[in-house]
């Protein structure tokens, strides 16, 4: 019972989305189906009237009005359908798509970052979003087909009810047979599908490798690789055929029985009943004709109905999935809270902070205590996986700690609303993306509101990031589109250039805290040198955090935190840590070794 309830609830959910924006679309579908029902009615009945006229000895004139009416009723819906289907249908659905996607953009902003790292949730999420437009369109069309099938069913039921109730029984039996057979077939097919998932994956995997260009180099380099792929493919095929044949063995006998019964119900019994009625009950030939006509349509109307139901069923499963996504309550990304007031710089304090990624057993950060004063410049260093980036993710409020608290300007970061807080952050991460909009928007990361002032800001920022010359040389300057996604005149940037544009984002923005996570990994030594010089200006008076593996860049920081296995193990200025001659010093020396002044220079 609960299942049925969800079934309806889920399907009405999607219909509700359409209904909200354009009620006329739903009414349109209904009216179309009504008109096609009228057409169906005449298709079945007209022949009866003609044959009856013959039997009762009427003249052609007597059937003429009916014939004209029938002709008109067939023709009229064509025009209406053409108008509706092609013009309104497309525009309507576009409107729905638009409001849906705008909603999703909002939603994706509210989704906690944690959700993206949960494989199962993320799987659902991508599937739900990737299919959303298709599913909505599908439901919309299915609604029409359902109405069609429903109206046709009613006409047939009333027809049989009025003329030959024996055929009603045939209809019910056909329905039971069809349901039963598709149930069994689905079950067997489901079992087969389950069994062939693995071999099909093998087949698809080997196919994927031969057509993705990233593998092309290796296929040339390793002569054994194509052979491995062939073996894998053939192994998959052998298993697939084995499963298929097992399925075929089971289904063949069942489907033979089904066809026997079906043919009996479709032709044998109905024709016998109609014949009997004609021979013994004295009905007209016209009646026989209309019944023969109608009987021929039983299977298609029924299977249509069953098909729409099962399609709605699949839809319902999809909506379940979608709901999981839409109903995911954000724990971190909440809009409530105090507005963050920018002050030019901010103090950061962490008290006994412990943090574990979902699904991990070991905490990534253990009992972190640190305090960064207003305007202080600090660096986080350590091995890969020591927890530096995680620390930054907590400070930027992408996650909340399991325990302990993070204070920004003395107040728990949770107390601020996330948007206003993040507006006060200047960030460069090593995996930052550029977007397929123009350079100006890529730097501002917001819509342009004052063209002149914004242009000036962007020019300044690009200059400081060391990429102004390259961009100014482009024909469209800062209005050049990034990537060729929408514009063949768009520009593709190299790794180093992307990093510089991302840096410009920091320069283009007034922020209290600047966080740079490996900002120079793709830059050459000269550009790196320039960048750090400019960065020092930008950081003037602001609180800043730098993560870098090139330890020469952290030397000048006010304080360095050395992290290991999620804990801060050393803390102090470069000189202090070098004097301590422990972990930081070791790391520094390994790197510096190669630059050691060789004897010829001493």
């Amino acid at each position: 019972m609960k299942k049925i309830l969800t079934f309806f609830k889920n399907n009405f959910f999607i219909l509700g989305i359409i209904w909200k924006d354009n009620k006329s679309a739903i009414f349109g579908k209904l009216s179309l189906s009504f008109l096609s029902a009228v057409k169906f009615f005449f298709e079945v009945y007209t022949i009866k009237w003609i044959f009856d006229a013959l039997e009762s000895g009427k003249t052609f004139d007597a059937v003429l009005p009916l014939l004209i009416l029938a002709s008109v009723c067939i023709i009229f819906p064509i025009f209406y359908r053409g108008y509706y289907q092609l013009l309104l249908g497309h525009l309507h659905i576009n409107k729905t798509f638009k409001s849906l996607n705008l909603l999703l953009v909002e939603k994706s902003k509210q989704l906690d970052l944690e959700c993206y790292e949960n494989a199962e949730f993320f799987d659902n999420y991508t599937r739900a979003l990737a299919d959303l437009e298709g599913q909505v369109l599908n439901t919309f069309n299915m609604l029409g087909w359902f109405f069609d099938a429903f109206f046709n069913l009613i006409i047939m039921l009333s027809l049989f009810g009025a003329m030959n109730s024996g055929l009603l029984i045939i209809m019910v039996l056909t329905f039971v047979l069809q349901c039963g057979y598709s149930f069994i077939e689905n079950k067997l097919d489901y079992k087969r599908n389950l069994a062939v998932t693995y071999p099909e994956r093998q087949i698809n995997y080997s196919k994927r490798i031969i057509y993705e260009p990233k593998y092309a180099k290796e296929i040339k380099l390793f002569k054994g690789l194509p052979e491995i792929l062939k073996n894998l493919y053939s192994k998959g095929v052998a298993a697939l055929i084995k499963e298929n044949m097992q399925f075929a063995k089971k289904i063949t006998l069942i489907s033979m029985c089904y066809h026997l019964l079906n043919l009996l119900l479709q032709y044998g019994l109905p024709f016998m009943i109609i014949g009997y009625q004609y021979f013994y009950l004295g009905t007209s030939l016209g009646t026989a004709a209309v019944l023969v006509n109608a009987v021929a349509k039983i299977p298609s109307v029924l299977s249509w109905l069953i098909w729409t139901f099962s399609a709605f069923q699949r839809n319902s499963l999809y909506v379940d999935n979608l709901n999981k996504v839409l109903n995911c309550e954000p724990k971190v990304e909440t809009a409530e809270g105090e507005k963050y007031e920018p002050k030019g710089a901010a103090s950061i304090e962490m008290k006994n902070v412990t943090f574990t990624y979902r699904g991990e057993k070991e905490p990534t950060l253990k009992n972190i205590n640190l305090s960064i004063k207003k305007g202080e410049r600090v660096a986080f260093v350590g091995h890969n996986g020591a927890g530096k980036t995680s620390l930054v993710k907590l400070i930027t409020r992408l996650y909340h700690p399991d325990s302990g608290e993070i204070l920004i300007n003395g107040k728990d970061v949770k107390a601020y609303d996330s948007d206003s807080y993040r507006k006060a952050l200047g960030l460069v991460f090593q995996d930052f993306n550029l977007y397929a909009v123009n350079i100006m928007e890529n730097v501002l990361m917001r819509e342009i509101d004052n063209k002149e002032a914004d242009e000036k800001t962007v020019y300044e920022a690009l200059k400081k990031a060391g990429i102004y010359d390259k961009i100014a040389a482009l024909p469209n300057g800062i209005y050049t589109d990034v990537t060729k996604e929408f514009n063949s005149e768009g520009v593709l940037f190299s790794g180093g250039e992307i990093q510089k544009i991302a840096l410009a984002r920091v320069f283009a923005k007034e922020s209290d805290i600047i966080i740079l996570d490996e900002p120079s990994s793709a830059l050459d030594p000269i550009a790196e040198h320039e960048m750090f010089k400019n960065m020092t200006d930008a950081e003037e008076g602001k609180t800043s955090i730098l993560i870098s593996h090139r330890l020469c860049s952290v030397i000048h920081c006010d304080r360095i935190f050395y992290l290991e296995h999620g804990e801060i193990v050393e803390e102090g200025t470069h000189e202090e840590l070098m004097a301590k001659n422990a972990r930081y010093a070791h790391m520094f020396n390994v790197q510096a070794e190669k630059y050691k002044i060789t004897s010829q220079f001493v």
Partner: protein, 603 residues
Amino acid sequence: MLKVIKNNFRMIRLVFRYSKFYFLLHTLYALFKAAYTFLNVYLIKWFFEILESGRPFKELIAFLGIFVIASVAVYSLITFLDRFITLKLNVKISEKINLALIEKIKSIDYECFENSEFYDKYTRALAETGSRALEVTNTFFELFGTIASIAVAVELISTIEPLFILLALFNVGVTFACHAFYNKTNYKEDLEGTPFKRRRQYVNRTIYQPEYAKEIKLFPMHKEILKRVYSEGVEGHNNLIKKYEPKKIAVYTFQMFLDDALRTIIPWWYIAVNVINKTLTISNASVVINVISQINANFRDMAYILMDYHAHSLFIENLNVIMDYQSKIESENGILLSGDVAHSIEFKNVTFAYPGGSEILKDLSFKIEKGEKVALVGYGYNGAGKSTIIKLLIRLYDVQSGEILIDGINIKEYNPVSLRDAFGLIFQDFNVYAMSLLENVLLTPDYSEEERKKAYDALKGSGLLSKLSDGGLDTLVTKEFSDSGIYLSGGENQKLSLARVLAKNCGIVILDEPSSALDPISEHEMNRNMLRAAENKTVLFISHRLSSVVDSDKILYLENGGIKEEGSHGVLLEMGGKYAEMFNLQAESYRQNQILEKEELLK
């Protein structure tokens, strides 16, 4: 037209070659299917004849009984054949085609994979070759089935009113013309709509791909830009709909009108007039109604089949491009290059540009002696030259002018497969495969016990041994095929490619240092392991960080596609050129620190 036939026949021949049995079964299937349609059409005619002629009810029952039995027999055979064909033969045939394609891919030049036009055709052809080959054959047999059905229908209707055949032909002609119009309009609409479609898809993708997730949150106002992009897409589409749809509606409506008029309304009027005038029996009237639908449907099927042939042909064109591809580089002939000993490498006045691009290498010359360890450095836009040198060396591309010599012989003289086999490459962007760790190292389908041992040692040498869980060497990599599979991190990935080199006989090792951020200690370790792999071998070391090239025998400093500076680290520093400038810049801060330290020590 000729091309369409030729293309389709090429495909049918291919299938025929793979399975003659398939052809036999398919012929049977088509025949039975036509017979089944035939049974349906006659049933209704005979039924009304019995009713009209006043023969006894018994006869009707006998007739129906025979009919059902005959139908069941025919239909069972149809389903049996259908299942056998789709579940077994189809899979078999598409296997053979795909295996042939995998074989073919070896002889396609690498260049093609970087050429988006060729690559587009290639993926499209590959993605559906298996299924498409079968569709072509299906269409072929469908054509026979449809012709058979039309013959029966024509025979039935021609005794009653031959005019209906002409009407049906007229109908199909109009349908065809209308479809042509649609396709043309849709094509234009699609073409004009692509920019808008891209916008919509882009936003949709941005929302759900995890790499964008962080930014959407961290830049709160960024979402407004995304919304704008999406809205632009929808607006654009709506304008296109308003521009093209009215025309399409007019044609569509006309076509549907004609179709209904010819298939339903005209037969009604014909029957009404003739039945009432007693010039048409009821059984024949039923024939008219059923057969007219049937014949129209058949003609339409024919039209679709012809259109299908056309579509198939376009697809086969793509496939032809691949199947008929003549490689410029790949060949089975040539001198074999041994992987057991070190070789010398020489670039002589090499100039190279990618197809359609500007020159990346200009008159490049350098020589690497047997067993020498050489580092290649260079920054900026010309950094791309470094990976190009590798691609030329392993003949993924050929030079435009100049020559590359290995042991004094032009590399074009060597067998390309054996040439590449003599190289060991360590890249960061190398792929791992969803196979066992052992297979990932050896990359060969069958291996001896000795090779197994070698792979083990290689894993040990690369520092990846700790990754072996209970499964040992047979531990699966990635979770593609098993939940117990392991994932490799970026650094481990690189260790794997190191293990591949260690397990292989190669005379030349190319090390492409990772550009991503490894922490200093892991980086140090990696470099040490890499150099161990290169003992007694000729080594070309591509570096992004100057600190790691200090120890090489020779450094080649690349700028603007040519060698700008050449010599050992000491020599280059002394020269005080570009290399020295870069090195000093990087070393500055470290050095300052060392001076301080030294001062402290002196105290």
